[in-house]
């Protein structure tokens, strides 16, 4: 897999047959155990909502999703149907099996109170952020993961184009209401989510909205 062009693929899975159907309100964290072989769908219910996700090997929390290993192996920066998400140890963690959005970001990272002070203004530091969400979920879960494990994440439904001249921008979203991405788990996983609360840039169209998560057992 070298091309990272947009590849639209719809899914035949029936939501009525899902074993989990959960909607995460705007701006909130979510931690979910996913078993090898299960299929996960993330739905951008109202459009242009960045869903910030990190995956960990549930059998060895030290093994995490690696943006750089994933990009190196696919030869490019965007994720879409057919992309395989690799761990830092080079093992496949998930495969994108359906995608009606067509492009997901790997470089933009997750917002933090501290990075908000840099990007916008020192006085923004009390606004809510993805990394506060991550820490909230991990502190409560107490599963051996912490700040050191907050590695560069995937931003589903977010568009961060890189130009040939070496610029990086935050473009208007490519997503729209009801767009979804579907991934098959290749190992037992923790999925750590922040449904992004960022209000200072267009990644959520200045209006964070809910995201829906569905899970199917292997057919």
């Amino acid at each position: 897999m070298t091309a990272t062009a947009i590849r639209i693929q719809e899914s035949a899975l029936d939501p009525a047959a899902a074993v989990l159907d959960h909607t995460v309100p705007a701006g909130e964290p979510y931690l979910l155990a996913i078993d090898k072989g299960q299929t996960l769908r993330i739905v951008d219910l109202e459009g242009n909502q960045a869903v910030d996700v990190i995956f960990y090997n549930r059998d060895d929390g030290a093994e995490h999703y690696s943006a750089t290993e994933t990009l190196l192996r696919q030869g490019g920066i965007y994720l879409t149907t057919g992309s395989v998400l690799y761990s830092d140890d080079g093992n496949p963690m998930l495969t994108i099996v359906a995608d009606t959005c067509g492009r997901h970001d790997t470089l933009g990272g997750a917002c933090a109170a501290e990075s908000n002070t840099v990007r916008y203004a020192l006085q923004k530091k009390f606004m809510h952020s993805c990394r506060d969400n991550y820490l909230t979920a991990l502190q409560h879960a107490d599963i051996g993961l912490g700040k050191r494990d907050l590695v560069p994440n995937i931003n589903f439904f977010m568009n961060v184009p890189v130009t040939e001249s070496g610029d990086l921008s935050f473009a208007d979203g490519v997503s729209a209401p009801g767009k979804y991405v579907e991934l098959r788990a290749e190992m037992n996983l923790w999925m750590l989510v922040s449904n992004c609360p960022q209000l200072n840039n267009p990644c959520n169209a200045y209006n964070p909205t809910p995201a829906r998560f569905l899970l199917w057992n292997p057919q």
Binding site: A5, D88, G108, S115, T117, V160, E164, D167, L168
Partner: protein, 268 residues
């Protein structure tokens, strides 16, 4: 031995400390009274040290095609470390040159690029691991090749951060100095060959007390079928911290705030 200039005889007892002034060869413009130490890094070599705020690391490519993968951790709080996405998005950039700063995950400038003859250093964090190294170059193990064995960039960095109690889960995406990777309209990587020339240099001013770890293994997208990483000269000199009228502070408002946040660590 593939590095004859590094295979030196042991020093005589009358002059037992062989701290050679390598910098006079590759960085003769540095003020002699401010140079603290220097070293020659063989291709594939790796090392690490603490550097205090107010020093500057001069990196000079001694061969064309050199690559230096470098990571930074706060020396005072190792949970604070260089963060690729934070640095890129704050500066709206996918390359580094003079004026850019390397930001931590805590919103602080860890180091700033204050001089650069190259114009583009690769921040996308790709790193040569053992799988890819064996696929590209075959096995080159110590038993047969002694000090000319091949070492991956990832193993070099894992060894170095391990010296400070950091594990593989702590290894962050590095900056690849002297390398250039362009992203095309479809998102695909294109490695630019013949980018840095022998003699090219870049100055990295250290803005907070840090642990620096580096590997001079090849960039993973380097198409050269031979494992032939270039040598690099390193010199550390006393530059002083960022002044008020610093070029990097003025380069972007985000950089001014990141340097301000670092200044807040050094209130007295």
């Amino acid at each position: 031995m593939e590095h004859p200039e590094l295979a030196l005889d042991n020093p005589p007892a009358s002059a037992p400390v062989d701290a050679i002034e390598h910098w006079r060869r590759f960085a003769p413009d540095l003020p002699a009274d401010k140079v603290l130490f220097s070293e020659l890094v063989p291709g594939g070599g790796h090392w690490s040290y603490r550097l205090p705020r107010g020093t500057t690391l001069r990196m000079t490519a001694l061969d064309a095609g050199a690559n230096l993968s470098l990571v930074l951790y706060s020396a005072q709080e190792k949970l604070e470390r260089y963060n690729m996405p934070d640095s890129l998005k704050a500066q709206h950039t996918a390359h580094y040159t003079r004026g850019h700063v390397l930001m931590s995950d805590m919103g602080r400038s860890m180091a700033s690029i204050t001089a650069d003859t190259v114009g583009w250093h690769d921040p996308l964090g790709l790193l040569l691991d053992n799988r890819l190294m064996h696929e590209k170059y075959g096995d080159h193990i110590y038993q047969q090749y002694r000090n000319a064995m091949y070492r991956s960039g990832r193993d070099g960095l894992l060894i170095e951060i391990g010296k400070y109690g950091l594990a593989k889960r702590d290894l962050v995406a590095p900056v690849n100095f002297f390398s250039k990777v362009v992203v095309d309209g479809e998102g695909r990587f294109r490695y630019v060959t013949n980018h840095a020339k022998a003699g090219d240099s870049v100055d990295l001013r250290i803005d907070m007390d840090v642990i620096v770890a580096y590997s001079a293994a090849p960039h993973p997208l380097d198409p050269n079928p031979a494992y032939a990483p270039g040598k690099i000269g390193l010199a550390v000199w006393r530059s002083g911290p960022a002044p008020k009228d610093d070029y990097c502070r003025a380069f972007r408002p985000e950089n001014a705030r990141a340097l301000h946040n670092t200044d807040m660590l050094y209130l007295v």
